[in-house]
């Protein structure tokens, strides 16, 4: 149970921290308008030159290793929905760190996601 809790915290908080860094890095690159393969490769190359992108990837890698550990202990149908708590952490992070305008409607959606997560937890037993 302790092991699962450690994995869970790493997936939700460290993983979301990584995604926030990646999101910030991609806003630096700017809106992608050309979707030809060589253009996408160029965008990915530019993104990988940003230190913040690497910080994000490193944090997401930690979360990924925790996910592998968690998957060895629990069912797929439990692990993925339960980690949806990261959506609440993500919305909060988007508001606090990326200064996104999270509308009441978006908060309501996030709330529904969180209630769904609780039900998935209850349903585990």
């Amino acid at each position: 149970m302790v092991t699962q809790s450690i994995f869970y915290i790493l997936i939700v908080f460290v993983g979301t921290g990584g995604e926030l860094c990646v999101s910030r890095a991609m806003k630096t690159i700017g809106e992608v308008t050309d979707f030809r393969p060589h253009s996408i490769a160029r965008v990915v190359g530019r993104a990988l030159a940003l230190p913040r992108m690497w910080t994000g990837i490193a944090l997401m890698a930690v979360a990924f290793f925790a996910l592998l550990g968690m998957l060895s202990l629990a069912k797929v149908s439990f692990v993925f929905p339960s980690t949806a708590l990261s959506y609440a952490v993500g919305a909060l992070g988007g508001k606090l760190f990326l200064h996104e305008r999270v509308t009441p409607q978006r908060w309501f959606g996030v709330l529904l996601v969180c209630i769904g997560v609780v039900l998935v937890f209850i349903g585990k037993g």
């Binding site: 919305a91 978006r106 769904g116």
Partner: protein, 140 residues
């Protein structure tokens, strides 16, 4: 087509790719990790053996490749759309994960858990009806 409609359309297309590819990747990852088995402990040797077994399992690599495709779609959409929009919108993949877990991995899923999955999807639907891009002021 207005620029707002175009923005919506390309956002929806990329999120559709994300929610199609990620559940498949997750399912292969889950199947692979069941082959690998439980981690024996936190000692460095146990951790090494656990991750060595994981990264020498073909099914795990299939999952990783699909998740890399997901990651590329994810970073592309994040170049214009809000993180607080993209992240919950991509949660629609939970329905697909639940279906794959039930029908492919033969996991039993309780009614309560199905209800949770449906609620998560409803939340995603609500988020999906907000505009993907809001004015922002980065401070870091």
């Amino acid at each position: 087509m207005t620029s707002s409609q175009g923005l919506h359309l390309k956002t929806i297309i990329l999120i559709f790719i994300m929610i199609s590819v990620a559940p498949l990747g997750d399912t292969f990852l889950g199947k692979g990790m069941k082959i690998v088995g439980r981690m024996k402990g936190w000692a460095p040797a146990d951790l090494f053996h656990f991750f060595f077994r994981a990264f020498t399992t073909g099914t795990v690599w299939l999952g990783i490749e699909l998740l890399l495709a997901y990651f590329v779609a994810y970073i592309l959409v994040l170049s214009w759309a809000d993180y607080s929009y993209v992240q919950p919108a991509s949660a629609a993949s939970y329905v697909l994960i639940a279906l794959l877990a039930h029908f492919v991995l033969h996991e039993s899923i309780s009614l309560t858990r199905w209800a949770g999955v449906v609620l998560i999807c409803t939340g995603v639907f609500v988020v999906g009806h907000t505009h993907p891009q809001t004015p922002e002021h980065h401070s870091w």
